[in-house]
């Protein structure tokens, strides 16, 4: 155990903290290299509106905005203040939605993204892997062959094309699904059965679009992995012993092929914080992707920083957890 802690756990936690430190520092530095000064942007926009504001009023506004945006002081002072706020969990105010805190915007958007992306990732991972393994092992099955062809056809379609086609077909030509949003205009956000059902209904089409594309990827990946394994000696031996084919598939083939797929799943889950930008924009879904899009369009760099930070922490944490639980999935890692 002591060896595990010293040679495995501590180095990985050290790596994790270093990645986060570098990520946070880069997140602080990069927007400041931009030629855009958010204070001057706000001042310019007011003046562009044709308002004849006195120079004294403009200067007053400039000072006030600099303070409010946390841009007062030297870069070093700003950097330490940034860390101080960050450790208190304060990401500052959004510049485009001033004075709303970035935390509040993220907290509002995150449940929508999680609620849609987690089921879509899990469903496509489970279905794609099972079908991929079956396609590899039962390669002469007609149904599986059809699934194989469909997966190969769907996989290369760019996601936005798939999403738009689904939207046009099921919301416009055959209007059985809503075309936008997570709930209809006029519906009050509340925790009631009718609202939950309405949200589920609004989520079906975006979910379908993500699952269709997702299944294709996992399917091809799993099929490729298992096609090598079925030729392994231990699989041939198992077949010769007369074990049921289903048992060979699940316990001999899939288990040995799962490791890269579990890594892929974990990384996808880690990317949750950045949302599914195209899906959310196409379907007008109010999650992290939409928030990112709005932040970029509005040059709202405190919000962009907040989203980036979450994404960095999300991926780094997932990789750390994965490193720690790998031995549970693969005894070979434990031995090493």
């Amino acid at each position: 155990m002591r060896k595990f802690v010293l040679s495995y756990l501590i180095p990985r936690i050290g790596q994790y903290l270093l990645v986060i430190f570098l990520g946070v520092t880069l997140t602080f530095v990069i927007p400041r290299l931009s030629p855009n000064d958010p204070v001057e942007q706000q001042v310019s926009q007011l003046m562009m509106s044709g308002s004849q504001v006195s120079p004294e009023a403009i200067e007053h506004m400039r000072v006030a905005l600099t303070e409010m945006y946390g841009l007062a002081g030297s870069p070093w002072e700003q950097y330490w203040a940034f860390w101080g706020r960050l450790l208190r969990g304060d990401l500052g105010p959004s510049l485009s939605s001033f004075p709303t805190p970035v935390n509040q915007l993220l907290a509002t958007a995150m449940p929508w993204t999680f609620g849609l992306l987690i089921p879509s990732i899990v469903i496509s991972w489970v279905v794609g892997n099972i079908l991929g393994a079956i396609a590899s092992y039962y390669e002469n099955n007609r149904v599986i062959q059809v699934v194989d062809v469909v997966s190969q056809a769907v996989r290369p379609i760019p996601y936005y094309i798939m999403a738009l086609v689904l939207l046009a077909v099921f919301s416009y030509w055959i209007p059985i699904f809503p075309f936008s949003g997570a709930y209809p205009p006029g519906a009050r956000v509340e925790f009631s059965l009718s609202f939950v059902l309405t949200v589920l209904y609004h989520s079906l089409l975006p979910l379908l679009s993500l699952v269709l594309i997702g299944i294709g990827g996992w399917f091809i990946g799993m099929k490729s992995l298992t096609s090598n394994i079925i030729a392994e000696d231990y699989v041939v031996y198992a077949e010769n012993t007369g074990l049921p084919r289903r048992q060979i598939l699940t316990q001999y083939i899939m288990r040995n092929a799962m490791l890269p797929q579990i890594t892929g799943l974990a990384l996808q889950l880690g990317m949750l914080f950045s949302g599914a930008l195209i899906m959310e924009v196409v379907f007008g879904y109010p999650g992290m992707g939409t928030l990112t899009f709005q932040a970029v369009m509005a040059n709202d760099y405190t919000l962009i920083m907040g989203i980036t930070l979450l994404s960095i922490v999300g991926v780094a944490t997932t990789v750390l957890i994965l490193d720690l639980i790998y031995p549970l999935f693969d005894p070979r890692v434990r031995i090493q």
């Binding site: 030629p35 855009n36 001057e40 942007q41 706000q42 310019s44 926009q45 007011l46 003046m47 562009m48 044709g50 308002s51 004849q52 504001v53 006195s54 009023a57 007053h60 506004m61 006030a64 959004s94 485009s96 939605s97 001033f98 004075p99 709303t100 915007l105 509002t108 939207l167 919301s171 416009y172 209007p175 699904f177 809503p178 075309f179 936008s180 949003g181 709930y183 209809p184 205009p185 006029g186 519906a187 009050r188 956000v189 009718s194 059902l197 309405t198 589920l200 209904y201 609004h202 079906l204 007008g284 109010p286 939409t290 709005q294 369009m297 040059n299």
Partner: protein, 656 residues
């Protein structure tokens, strides 16, 4: 003994069944709750509940062009930068002293809204008296009086960071209240247009409820939630995510200024964020959106072809409502080359307006050769009287001959080009074409442009590219908006293409709005495709934009431009015109004469090249409501974020 009640397989099977059942129930849910299912067009006429107690047939649903509003719960309209202005707040909840309609108006272009009569100035315009209507009440039952008006002005004057702090500090010396319905402003300097601050053209200084704001320690930070209304509707509910705002007609709507024109027909109004153009098409086709604020030309064409109940401002091509703004090529008149009148004119003659109109609006543009927008009542005020002068106007090309640059057939040529793709949707009648697409424009004549460039001392290099008189390459980066206004981007791209064909080293410089604004204000640009001219639309007074074209507002490149003189143009004949307008009363007909003088001066000097009005494809659907404003009944502007659209509510009626 089994350790679990269910085996793994039984558990998975039951989980699957439960999930499938939930999904099926969810699919059926909207029909049961009546909230969400988009109906097929044929079914859309059927009534339904938007939410309990809110019937679709009683609700007008409009686009809020701001989109998602964040923060959703901030209604302090008197703080700059607020996002909720167009959620119905300024259209239905707030009210102002006067309104000028950009079109013909419900009872003429001028409306005394909260004021009982027009502003009363003394002889030298140092005093303005306002008489207020009596019997107007806020939605919480408090009467609107002179105290509210005085509080509105004094609070903003004395509080840094409010929308009119600068203006009120500059213009207002003192305020008096002779009686509860009269306010007398003593002005710090003569100003015949002081009332403009209180006169709605899209927006203005709306009245603040004194009894609410005076209880707040910080009027800037106060979010005014829930807003107390002075208009005929009160906010019933809104989406915490800022996607929709639901307003309900006040029980005491007859105690508001709009009651003079009758009861607003919709019991409810909902402003929503419908998303991009394709979503708006889907929403209107399925009866989910009555008023589209603006849509891409392609979306308009789809609606015109597929949804017979969708109506534009014009009954057919070009459909769009021309805003009283004038997208133009705005030159930096201080840049080498562009500081020459001949060069600016050469660049104008090198623009093919037909191709620009086709590129930007697929032909559905309303063009303008002169420096006022071809919108509202301006054709009558300025365009008709100018035609004779324009036809006779000549340029000296430097070869001894006089050249007449005006092309009165430009609109007809645009109509012909549009007809190639849109067929019979494009009118053929000359009067209809003039009304919809505009009058003439400047000739596309590269030969004349060449002579003007040579007259200015420019030459061509061996590759045929133009050089400045000092031998330096003549480069123009035309700055334009990107994704936020594709119409402008496409128009600018075509202008660049025209200029490149003429031998100018021109490039399209697309910047995000913030950067573009900063550079343009500082004069760090060669030229910009944008607008610096906008007018009242319904009223001929040009002081609205000309005020800041006066040389006293001029700032050289490198300093932030003040007001609208981003082109940094000065001319000795311009100031006297502006000063003469300022000395006139607002309605003095001499204002039009002076306006015509300005137009002739601007056409001669061409400090910016006017292109067209900013056409807004506002589309009203007549599935549930009819009587929307159109070019045939232009009682107000249908563009949903204008505060003037409140007049629409008393004119529309439920579809029988």
């Amino acid at each position: 003994m089994k350790p679990y009640i269910l085996s793994r397989r039984e558990f998975l099977a039951q989980l699957g069944l439960a999930t499938a059942g939930t999904m099926l129930a969810a699919c059926a849910a909207p029909a049961a709750t009546g909230g969400a299912a988009p109906a097929a067009p044929a079914e859309a006429v059927a009534d339904r509940e938007i939410r309990p107690g809110v019937m679709r047939s009683e609700t007008l649903i409009l686009e809020n062009p701001t989109g998602k509003v964040v923060p959703a719960d901030d209604f302090n309209r008197w703080r700059p930068g607020i996002q909720s202005a167009s959620t119905g707040l300024q259209q239905l909840g707030l009210d102002a002293l006067w309104y000028i309609d950009p079109d013909a108006g419900i009872d003429g272009v001028w409306d005394n809204s909260l004021a009982a009569e027009k502003p009363i100035y003394n002889e030298d315009f140092t005093q303005m008296t306002v008489k207020l209507r009596q019997g107007i009440y806020w939605s919480d039952g408090v009467e609107f009086t002179a105290d509210d008006l005085i509080y509105t002005v004094e609070t903003q004057k004395n509080t840094q960071g409010m929308a009119y702090t600068g203006q009120f500090n500059k213009y207002v010396a003192s305020i008096e209240k002779p009686d509860p319905y009269t306010v007398v402003f003593t002005l710090a300097e003569p100003n015949s247009r002081f009332h403009g601050l209180f006169t709605v053209r899209w927006g203005a200084c709306f009245m603040m409820p004194k009894h609410i704001f005076e209880q707040q320690p910080d009027p800037v930070a106060f979010t005014f939630n829930p807003p107390v209304s002075l208009g005929p509707y009160v906010l019933k509910d809104f989406d915490p995510q800022g996607d929709w705002y639901l307003w309900e007609r006040r029980e005491d709507w007859d105690r508001t200024s709009l009651a003079r024109y009758g009861m607003p027909a919709p019991k409810f109004a909902m402003y929503i964020a419908p998303g991009p153009s394709d979503k708006k098409v889907m929403a209107q086709t399925s009866g989910e959106l009555d008023v589209i604020h603006d849509i891409a030309p392609e979306g308009m064409i789809t609606l015109a072809r597929t949804n017979p109940t969708s109506k534009g401002w014009f009954p057919s091509f070009p459909w769009a409502h021309p805003d009283p703004t004038l997208p133009s090529v705005i030159y930096n008149n201080e840049k080498p080359g562009l500081n020459s009148r001949e060069v600016r004119w050469a660049l104008t003659l090198a623009i093919d307006i037909v191709r620009v109109a086709m590129a930007s609006y697929r032909g559905a543009a309303t063009i303008s050769a002169i420096h006022v927008p071809p919108t509202g009542l301006y054709p009558g005020y300025y365009f008709d009287p100018m035609q004779e002068w324009l036809n006779a106007f000549t340029l000296d090309l430097g070869d001894g001959a006089s050249y007449a640059p005006y092309d009165p057939t430009a609109a007809t040529r645009i109509a012909e080009a549009a007809r190639a793709s849109l067929g019979d949707l494009v009118p053929t009648d000359e009067a209809a074409v003039r009304k919809a697409i505009g009058y003439g424009w400047w000739k596309y004549d590269l030969e004349a442009a060449e002579k003007l460039m040579l007259k200015a001392g420019c030459t061509r290099d061996s590759a045929g590219k133009w050089l400045l008189p000092d031998g330096q390459p003549f480069k123009i980066a035309l700055m334009a908006e990107g994704e936020t206004r594709p119409i402008m981007n496409r128009g600018a791209a075509m202008v660049v293409e025209n200029w490149v064909e003429f031998g100018i080293d021109a490039t399209l410089d697309v910047r995000d709005n913030a950067t573009r604004t900063k550079l343009v204000l500082l004069g760090e640009m060669d030229a910009e495709f944008g607008w610096t001219i906008e007018t009242w639309g319904g009223h001929p007074d040009l002081f609205f934009f000309l005020e800041s074209w006066h040389s006293s507002f001029y700032r050289p490149s490198g300093e932030n431009a003040v007001g609208r003189n981003r082109m940094r143009w000065q001319h000795p004949d311009l100031d006297p015109i502006i000063e003469a307008i300022q000395r006139l009363e607002f309605d003095d007909p001499k204002g039009i004469e002076l306006g015509l003088e300005f137009i002739k001066l601007a056409a001669t000097e061409m400090p910016i090249t006017p292109i067209m009005s900013y056409n807004v494809f506002s589309v009203c659907d007549e599935t549930y409501w009819e009587g929307f404003p159109t070019s045939e009944d232009p009682y107000t502007n249908p563009v949903a974020n204008w505060a003037n659209t409140k007049y629409m509510y008393v004119k529309i009626r439920p579809k029988a």
